[in-house]
């Protein structure tokens, strides 16, 4: 398939992830949306690496996967902590930064 096909796929996946981040109430749901967005980025990187013959894209993907994993782990840990304190995981209730 053409590069454009892969890129289009990645774009759609990214937007679906963005939709999830924006709309989901539960914090864990938001994190799942983030996962989808990062996934889309990875597909993009690998597609470019493959079609341009440069392996750096794949190396970069290794990095992003690693970082994502670390981020998810810590993010979920934070969610659990917040749940312990505020007894809620709904993002709407976490509005202490309200101006």
């Amino acid at each position: 398939m053409t590069l454009q096909a892969y890129l289009t796929l990645a774009a759609v996946l990214f937007c679906i992830g963005l939709f999830g981040v924006i709309t989901r109430r539960n914090t864990i749901g938001i994190l799942l949306g983030i996962e989808l967005m990062l996934n889309a980025v990875n597909i993009n990187l690998v597609a470019f690496a493959r079609f341009l013959g440069d392996v750096s894209g794949m190396v970069f993907t290794v990095f992003t996967i690693s970082i994502t994993v670390a981020e998810v782990a810590l993010g979920l840990a934070l969610v659990i902590l917040i749940f312990r304190i505020r007894r809620t995981a709904v993002a709407d209730h976490l509005d202490l930064l309200k101006g």
């Binding site: 990214f14 939709f19 949306g33 690496a49 079609f51 994502t68 709904v90």
Partner: protein, 164 residues
């Protein structure tokens, strides 16, 4: 007829359908499962792109690790099921508009450029190439990654402490 387009289209459909399910399902636990499915479909796409190493990494870390952690987090926090979609999602319409607009913008950018490049031939073992460049050209980010994991480990330890 070549296998590749069929594989692509099948994987693409699976991926997108499961992604939509992730963001739209009311049951959070189902959401995570659908995420696992979409991550697996991504791994398949990596295989279609001749990136075997990455496919393996994807399956191990993402579909295995991340999903597991998410499940644990869901179990620990309560309220995973809502009766109506509004209990689990908010402002669906505006979110759809924003995401849709972004999609249109992205696609518009893709349409312009000369991006129909032919697929070059696979030059050698990609995994070996990844490994080599990881330890030569990109050795600095590689080391920094180690530092990052250390920091994440410390952070996780800190979070896991009991309250005293």
């Amino acid at each position: 007829m070549s296998l590749e387009p069929i594989a692509f289209w099948g994987l693409a459909v699976a991926l997108l359908a499961s992604a939509l399910a992730v963001v739209l399902t009311r049951n959070l636990f189902h959401s995570v499962l659908y995420l696992a499915l979409s991550l697996t479909a991504t791994a398949g796409l990596f295989l279609a792109l001749d990136a075997e190493f990455l496919a393996a990494v994807q399956l191990l870390l993402y579909a295995g690790g991340v999903v597991t952690i998410a499940v644990f987090a869901i179990v620990v926090t309560e309220r995973l099921v809502g009766d109506r979609i509004t209990q689990t999602s908010r402002q669906l319409f505006t979110g759809f508009i924003i995401a849709g607009a972004l999609l249109v913008a992205l696609l518009a950018i893709f349409r312009r450029g000369p991006l129909t490049v032919p697929r070059p031939a696979v030059s050698g073992d990609l995994t070996r190439a990844i490994g080599q460049s990881l330890l030569t050209t990109y050795v600095l980010p590689f080391e920094l990654l180690g530092v990052l994991f250390l920091a994440a480990l410390l952070g996780a330890l800190y979070f896991a402490r009991p309250d005293d």
